[in-house]
């Protein structure tokens, strides 16, 4: 999940979520960065409204049905 967290930090700092920035953040955290995952992440986030996606997590009703067996 570290790649996603890296994207979230960049989103908060207002920096662009691109390959270079993501790699920098992950590098600084000691992550052994895989270029293709960074690329995939950038591509996946291209048309996504991150604020909205993050807020959806907040909208989750507490105590929701936990599907855990």
């Amino acid at each position: 999940m570290e790649y996603v967290y890296a994207a979230l930090i960049l989103n908060e700092s207002g920096e662009e979520i691109n390959e270079e920035n993501l790699t920098d953040v992950l590098d600084a955290a000691g992550v052994d960065v895989e270029e293709s995952r960074v690329k995939a992440l950038v591509a996946a986030l291209e048309d996504v409204d991150i604020e909205e996606a993050v807020e959806q997590a907040a909208a989750v009703p507490a105590g929701g049905a936990s599907a855990a067996p």
Binding site: Y3, R37, V54
Partner: protein, 297 residues
């Protein structure tokens, strides 16, 4: 000794002067002094109550005139308690706080039957139900007292909750008998605090009644508010750090799902989501021939 002093000694007997002096000492030795109504408490019960105060408070009973004289001589605001001195009363002193005193006294009250001629201390309600009394003249007595009553299944029933006396009403002989027959004890007997003078402030009993549940709720609300602020402002504390971690994780996951990020942590959920979407779409399809067997409704 002058003639005048001699005469005073005659009009105020020694024991009275000593009593006033003792009462004065009593008032001066406590932070909070109150007047309690002890009307109708049998002396033996009063002794028990006195002991029940566990040393957190002291009860002192004397003649009202002497109590008033003592309050007057202490002054400093205590004389304002005099207006509460009437009927059968006692002085109560404590270093505890007046709210605590009130709570303690209320908790020590016990129910008691009410007699004819007494004033109802609150509304008296005879509850709906089987009285357990065999059919007989008691039905009429109940009805006369103002209760709806009739004979059902071989005994006398009260058919609905019936108000038989309002607060402040004098209890009639008939009603007293009915309540006694039913075993109802509508009175609360105990030391009834009228007012407390505490550190310069007079508190009447209705000001002293605190709702502990309300305070408990306030504590819960305050704690929840602090927690909310800590999480929403992202100021982690020992208690809220786990919540913040969970929140951050949830946000990452939400983003992962919404953006269909092909991350190992997200992909199992994406597969679930895809399957759920498939089923949701299939549910909209009426023609079963368009669906594989496992998706047919």
């Amino acid at each position: 000794m002058s003639a005048e002093a001699e005469r005073k000694t005659e009009t105020i007997p020694e024991w009275k002067r000593e009593e006033v002096a003792e009462l004065t000492d009593f008032v001066e030795s406590y932070n909070s002094v109150g007047v309690v109504n002890i009307t109708g408490i049998p002396s033996k019960q009063l002794q028990n109550m006195r002991r029940g105060l566990h040393g957190s408070a002291e009860l002192r009973v004397s003649r009202n005139t002497l109590v008033q004289r003592a309050l007057d001589s202490v002054g400093a605001g205590f004389e304002d308690l005099e207006e509460y001195v009437s009927g059968q009363i006692g002085l109560i002193g404590t270093n505890d706080n007046p709210f605590g005193l009130y709570k303690e006294l209320e908790a020590s009250k016990s129910p008691a039957p009410i007699s004819a001629g007494e004033i109802a201390p609150n509304d008296i309600l005879i509850p709906e139900g089987d009285t357990g009394v065999d059919p007989g003249p008691f039905v009429g007595e109940l009805q006369q007292a103002g209760a709806s009553a009739r004979i059902m299944d071989g005994s006398i029933h009260v058919t609905e909750d019936s108000l038989v006396a309002e607060e402040g009403d004098e209890v009639s002989e008939e009603l007293a008998n009915v309540l006694s027959e039913l075993g109802m004890e509508p009175k609360e007997v105990g030391l009834d605090l009228r007012a407390v003078y505490s550190d310069g402030v007079m508190f009447e009993s209705d000001e002293l009644a605190i709702d502990v549940d309300e305070y408990r709720t306030d504590i819960e609300t305050a704690a929840a508010f602090a927690r909310n602020l800590s999480v929403n402002a992202v100021y982690p504390t020992e208690q809220t750090a786990p919540l913040l971690i969970s929140k951050a994780t949830g946000e990452a996951k939400s983003l992962g799902l919404q953006a269909a990020i092909e991350s190992p942590d997200v992909v199992p959920d994406l597969v679930s989501k895809a399957d759920a979407q498939l089923r949701a779409l299939a549910a909209q399809i009426d023609d079963e021939d368009a669906l594989p067997e496992e998706l047919r409704g």
